[in-house]
């Protein structure tokens, strides 16, 4: 029984890897988009002086862009359930003798793997471009944050996919919820320069993820110590995954 579930998780993971690696254009766009942000914003604001900014802007921006790549990729994984629903494949998954829990685990691990690959590509490029990493331990903590961010975003994607039936609503959510949240998360500019901005940021789950990522990766310009961020992020992650799993398990085809 237990090996059955593991096999199921493995094959779901494998399916996502195959789809991910097979379609080079999709892979390319998902890496190129954050890279554009990184290079264009990075060169445009290179000389900028902002309150709350310690060290160079490139250093500040790198964790934000890594987070953005992971966020988009993971959300896409969660929402790709919608895709499966539309193409009927979800029925094949749901009618199999595999618990809903394993189905969610399979998808989450698959999504996290693809997101981390993209995150690492960005990180690698950032290091080549000369950002300064705080320490080895910091790098490990960075990976932990990347994982948690990815799980949370898959969970959020699952929530959307369970509640919606078409892709129009997905792009609506991307543009009206995710983009503002991303801008108000200190991914691209420090929020400490303005009292209102900062207050809003405290209610933004993404803020803790990016602040934590920044604190652990470059060890500068972060608002909270990374460990505090870590606790908050863990709680958010558990809530999102639980809610996503619950709604998904309730969904009927």
């Amino acid at each position: 029984m237990r090996t059955n579930e593991l096999q199921a998780i493995y094959i779901m993971w494998l399916r996502q890897m195959k789809r991910f690696l097979r379609f080079k254009t999709r892979l390319a766009t998902m890496v190129i988009q954050p890279l554009f942000f990184f290079l264009l914003l990075g060169s445009g604001f290179r000389q900028a002086v902002m309150p709350g900014l310690e060290g160079g802007y490139i250093d500040f921006l790198a964790p934000g862009i890594v987070a953005m790549a992971i966020l988009f990729s993971s959300m896409f994984t969660g929402v790709s359930v919608l895709w499966d629903k539309q193409f009927g494949f979800l029925q094949e998954v749901l009618v199999a003798p595999v618990s809903r829990f394993s189905i969610i685990i399979g998808r989450t691990i698959g999504g996290a793997t693809t997101a981390l690959i993209q995150g690492f590509i960005i990180l690698f490029i950032a290091i080549i471009l000369g950002i300064k990493i705080s320490s080895g331990a910091g790098l490990i903590l960075t990976i932990v944050f990347m994982l948690l961010l990815s799980f949370t975003a898959v969970g959020f994607g699952l929530i959307i996919a369970s509640k919606m039936n078409d892709f129009q609503s997905f792009s609506l959510i991307m543009n009206l919820i995710i983009m503002p949240l991303l801008f108000l998360s200190s991914a691209f500019f420090p929020v400490t320069q303005d009292k209102t901005l900062q207050t809003i940021a405290y209610f933004n789950p993404l803020f803790y993820m990016i602040d934590g990522l920044r604190g652990s990766l470059i060890g500068k310009s972060n608002v909270f110590p990374p460990l505090i961020d870590l606790i908050v992020v863990c709680i958010i992650c558990i809530i999102m995954l639980t809610l996503g799993s619950y709604l998904f398990s309730k969904s009927e085809v």
Partner: protein
């Protein structure tokens, strides 16, 4: 663990409501082990909803069913292990190859490595897709996709295979081929087959027994031969002037069975139809009714359907009834 019973599917007052609409209304029937059972009805009659409940994808509003002795609500995992399903709409990952789709399925159903390899080869051979195993499914034709799905449904040796409109939208040649596969696997693997269709000739060719469902209700369930006999030994169809009066006259003759008017035609069952034709013409002549055409033939499932529902199934095709649209909507719903 498996209960020894001849009835592999038993439903007890199975009902599904979507808001005000009762899609499936109090179904109680049995399907015997090893048979090909057909669920016959027009679009939107509740066939797909019934299959979705039996395959644990939808929860019944009330009532329940057992498959191979397992309850579809309380023992979902056991039910799922024992069934294979081919859905009405394709349920393949088109970005994987045919073989990868089967591998996915095999692992989801926990087949061991050796079994997996052998079984994938077997079913691919069975549906003649071995040559195309490494082609991405998005490059398959409609018939190939269907065959792949049937192969997939069979992989884990299901006790019951559900086929929801297996040949919908396929050309005549592919349809014939798929019928042959269905017969073959029923014979060679002993799989019980539950299929839904609104093609009468499909049910007639494949099934031992059929149930006719309309507006969510089961109207009749029996062997095809019994159903045909119930209509009469022969079926006479005629068109004439003053049809209303003629129907009334014929109704009084005791050798006329199940007379129906439909689209200007009068249809009824008789014994020894050839010999009755002169008699019918004689009656008409006496009453000064002119018969324009008359024919006699053996009853078909169409006649059975007409006699139980008061219309032919072709009336339903083409026009999407509001019920049909509803079932489509719920397909993509939660």
């Amino acid at each position: 663990m498996e209960k020894k019973t001849l009835d592999i599917i038993i439903t007890y007052g199975l009902t599904k409501k979507f808001g005000d609409l009762t899609a499936v209304n109090n179904l109680s029937f049995n399907v015997k082990k090893g048979e090909i059972f057909g669920f016959l009805g027009p679009n939107g009659a509740g066939k797909t909803t019934t299959i979705k409940m039996l395959t644990t994808l939808l929860n019944p509003t009330s009532g329940t069913a057992t498959i191979a002795g397992f309850d579809i609500i309380k023992q979902r995992d056991e039910v799922r292990k024992n069934i294979g399903v081919v859905f009405q709409e394709p349920a393949l990952d088109v970005e994987l190859t045919g073989k990868e789709n089967l591998e996915y399925h095999a692992r989801m159903y926990g087949l061991s490595r050796d079994k997996r390899k052998k079984r994938i080869n077997d079913v691919l051979e069975l549906v003649n897709l071995w040559d195309k195993r490494d082609v991405l499914v998005k490059n398959y034709s409609g018939g190939m996709k269907r065959r792949l799905e049937i192969a997939r449904g069979l992989m884990h040796y299901p006790v019951v295979l559900f086929l929801d409109e297996p040949t919908l939208g396929l050309d005549a040649q592919t349809r014939r081929a798929i019928w042959a596969y269905i017969k073959k696997m029923n014979k060679e693997e002993g799989t019980t087959i539950f299929l839904t269709t609104h093609y009468m000739e499909e049910a007639e060719y494949l099934c031992n027994r059929v149930g006719i469902i309309d507006y969510g209700k089961l109207l009749v369930i029996d062997d095809i031969s019994n159903l045909k006999n119930s209509v009469g030994k022969d079926v006479i169809t005629l068109s004439c002037t003053d049809a209303d009066r003629f129907v009334k006259i014929l109704e009084n003759e005791k050798w006329v069975e199940k007379i129906k008017r439909h689209e200007g035609l009068v249809t009824f069952g008789v014994e020894k139809g050839d010999e009755k034709i002169p008699e019918i013409i004689e009656i008409a002549r006496k009453q000064d009714i002119k018969i324009k055409s008359i024919s006699v033939r053996k009853p078909t499932l169409d006649d059975v359907f007409l006699s139980y529902t008061g219309r032919t199934i072709r009336d339903e095709e083409g026009q999407v009834s509001s019920k049909g649209r509803l079932s489509l909507r719920f397909r993509g719903g939660r």
